[in-house]
């Protein structure tokens, strides 16, 4: 479980006075909460994805002229048809796996998502997307607030973070999210063996049960230890999962394997956080080769393997995958064959019950001063769909929660009907 320092200061630490359910009743809770239950897998593209290279308006004459070295030739894109404004779109050539999911009607692409006065800072941008607030970016995250509303007693594995740091979106007032980067190494070692090792584990568990209300930071650390020691056995079962499909041998592939394993072992986790980095492509982004091709290979191949794995297990209808980044990138390439920080970008959703298709309209990349689809003197893509509308759809229609309470406002009107 994790709180940020800022949240401790802001939210008041006295809220942090909960205990977890005892391990022996966890399986009962998981069952009572409806296993197999619906879950959400968030795949965050860290660094600001150049979504104009993910979903390409390849006929826009300014696409080629503003991106002399980065533009992908029309002949190479994976055509997916036109959006409601008649713009022809194609996926990046390396996203063959996503194209097959799109063709199966299970990939939704929401164009030009964002918010007014979009931040170009990685960190502020990430926090705005994480908190779902443009004004209080140091508070709890939207997924954290969802977890806060799940009826207690909570299973400590109700959410599962596959990276070491707890990201802003998962920060909650009363729920700590375990960070489990690798189920195989999630273990408690000992300088001794046999009974002596067991004595230590028992003692460490007792010592960490001290959760003093007047020392909230200590209580936070000790309850984190409690959550770790209390979930070791169940996480170990996930490490035994052997998928039938082959995942790419990279960090994203390994994280998604663990997610599929947790689903397979019926851990009962409702929210998974996965991220993959390298999207801050200021330089040598490339067109037919270069860093962006590798990024798309990692993303597309990983998601396709995961999708096929769930499909083979019959769990596709329990899962929604949300893919997003903290901002899009500048339309015109810079002098380094890369792109600087921009604004509006695409969100993607996939899953067995996702309504696939293209939502929203593509930007018109012309330099006409009256162009309504761009901002910042036509340098960046202007948002059309508030990202919180997509969150609202997921919260209300998928997770069965209350988006107005969680997002602090009603974003349902006009939200794309993706799920």
């Amino acid at each position: 479980m994790n709180f940020s320092r800022r949240q401790f200061v802001k939210g008041g630490v006295t809220a942090f006075t909960f205990g977890f359910a005892a391990p022996q009743v966890l399986c009962d809770i998981a069952l009572a909460q409806g296993v197999p239950s619906r879950n959400l897998v968030v795949v965050y593209l860290s660094g600001g994805n150049d979504s104009l290279s993910t979903v390409i308006p390849y006929r826009d004459p300014f696409y080629a002229s503003r991106r002399p070295t980065l533009a992908i030739p029309a002949a190479n894109v994976l055509q997916i048809g036109t959006d409601s404004s008649g713009v022809e779109l194609g996926l990046h050539p390396r996203l063959t796996g996503l194209r097959s999911i799109f063709d199966g009607g299970r990939l939704a692409i929401v164009q030009r998502t964002g918010y007014a006065n979009q931040s170009r800072s990685h960190f502020t941008g990430f926090d705005i997307w994480g908190t779902a607030s443009t004004t209080n970016t140091s508070g709890t995250g939207w997924l954290g607030r969802y977890l806060d509303l799940v009826p207690p007693p909570l299973d400590p594995l109700v959410a599962w973070n596959t990276v070491r740091e707890t990201p802003r979106p998962l920060m909650a007032r009363t729920v700590g999210v375990p960070a489990i980067t690798s189920p195989a190494t999630y273990a408690f070692s000992s300088p001794n063996t046999g009974a002596e090792a067991t004595f230590e584990k028992t003692a460490q568990t007792k010592i960490s049960s001290h959760l003093p209300v007047d020392r909230p930071h200590l209580a936070f650390v000790n309850s984190t230890t409690q959550a770790a020691l209390g979930t070791l056995d169940r996480v170990a079962t996930v490490a035994t999962y052997r998928p039938a499909v082959t995942y790419p041998n990279n960090a994203l592939g390994q994280a998604l394997t663990a997610v599929a394993g947790a689903m397979n072992k019926q851990i009962g986790t409702k929210v998974f956080w996965v991220q993959t980095g390298g999207f801050d492509t200021h330089a040598n982004q490339g067109a037919n080769q270069g860093s962006y091709v590798n990024l798309m290979a990692t993303l597309g191949d990983g998601l396709k393997a995961f999708y096929d794995d769930l499909s083979a297990q019959g769990m596709l209808n329990n899962t929604v995958v949300l893919v997003y980044s903290e901002f899009g990138r500048r339309i015109s390439e810079n002098g380094s064959a890369g792109t600087d920080h921009g604004a509006g970008a695409n969100m993607m959703l996939l899953g067995g019950l996702v309504r696939g298709g293209i939502y929203g309209t593509a930007p018109n990349l012309s330099m006409d001063p009256a162009n309504p689809t761009l901002e910042n003197s036509n340098a960046d893509v202007k948002w059309e769909t508030d990202f919180r509308g997509v969150y609202a759809k997921i919260l209300d229609n998928w997770l069965g929660s209350n988006s107005v309470a969680i997002l602090g406002a009603d974003y349902r009107a006009g939200a794309p009907n993706v799920i």
């Binding site: 479980m1 973070n161 002596e196 460490q204 200590l218 650390v221």
Partner: protein
Amino acid sequence: MLEHILRRLGFGASPAELAAWSALPIDTVIDRLLNYESQSTDHDSKIGQPDYIGITTQSGQPFSPNTLINDARQRWLFRMIHSQRPLEEKMALFWHNHFATAYSKIAGAVGQERATRMMDNDPASLAGSMPGQIQTLRQFATGSFPGMLLAMAKDPAMIYWLDSQLNTRTRPQENFGREIMELFSLGIGNYTEQDVYAAARVFTGFNWQIVGDRANVTESYYTFLFRPADHDTAAKEFTFAIYPDGGKIIPARAAANGEQDALDFILALGRNPATARRLATRLYKFFVNETAEPDQALVTAMANAYLGNNYNIKAVLRTLVNSQQFRDPANFFQRYSWPAEFVVRAIKETGWTGLSVNAAITPLTNMGQQLFEPPDVNGWETGPGWISTSSMLSRMNFASTLAGNQRFNLARDAQPYRQTPERVLEYSLARFRTMGFATAQTNSMSEYLRSTAWTGSDAQLQQRVPGLTRLIIGSGEYQFN
């Protein structure tokens, strides 16, 4: 008090070091730690000597801390453990987080040997070579902050990390121009997007060059290069003051004099009150207390010390260590130990006989702090951000590894107290200081020592004293310093 000072201005103390320090008045201790320039710099010469923690060389290769990153990590940890200037290493760690630069991106471009030199090269290792980034941060650690900003703008590792070498007159590139304001000085909210564009143009022409035989990866290295032809000579206008008279425009100037743009701009960032306040706040949280809102009176005093002393960091630290807040017991153990701090303190307090510092490298990664590899330019998420279920398992497991490794020393040290478990416990709690445990917790420790009937035999001490040590070092209480 003494142990608190040693934890804050250093990484804690071994029992022998603690005994030596305790002979001195506390003000002398602080003065010696703060004004470390008179202390020896011979730490590296002790690598490989008996009585110091060991290092592990890679198969068949000599120890190469200037050209192999794993060896550079070992050398830095060795210094944290044994340097006579612990504050220098502590500040280097602080600035490493502030100017967070990751080795892997650079190694991808120039290979591991030259990238390692860029991170932490000792210039004495190769004639003419540049100090690595961390060496530069040590050099400026308690000196002029604008000087450090300028050194970082010209630091080859930073240049490649934030793409400055691609930032030219015809194609300005904003990466460094943005981060120097957002993360290195003013902080967000104190500049506009227009300032980012202007800042990018200030640094056009900042580049790097390779020196030496490119094919010889261990004897070639990178240095700063200013390329006037790439510099944007037009005037640059900002929304905040660049000059003491309030002027916001860096004037147009000839390309040959283009580096002056950066000097003007960096000095403006350095003397901006927002920078003073931001640095003071960060240093307060690093040295005093990060679990409560910063004491605004002390932060203001530190910011004023900065502004009134030519933006000198030592002046800020002097104000800090002389404050009542620094020595206030209410602020003891009110910081989350960074993984490097946790590991080094645990080693110093437990011992290192037969131990290689290499044993800490992978655990540090699992705790979330691989040296020379911060997650992004924003540095590590410190404070509670260090703590997660997996990082706590890593901390507990490192305590286990260390205690097991020092099994015989720990057992021997406890022999005088072997009559009862309670005496062993009392001894151990005094050796491994924390904010203090509740009675229920110390009862659990006693119960642990009595898991089977207490005999106090050597064999039992060799199991239970390491076991108790790992319980204490792995406790929540020990994660604070």
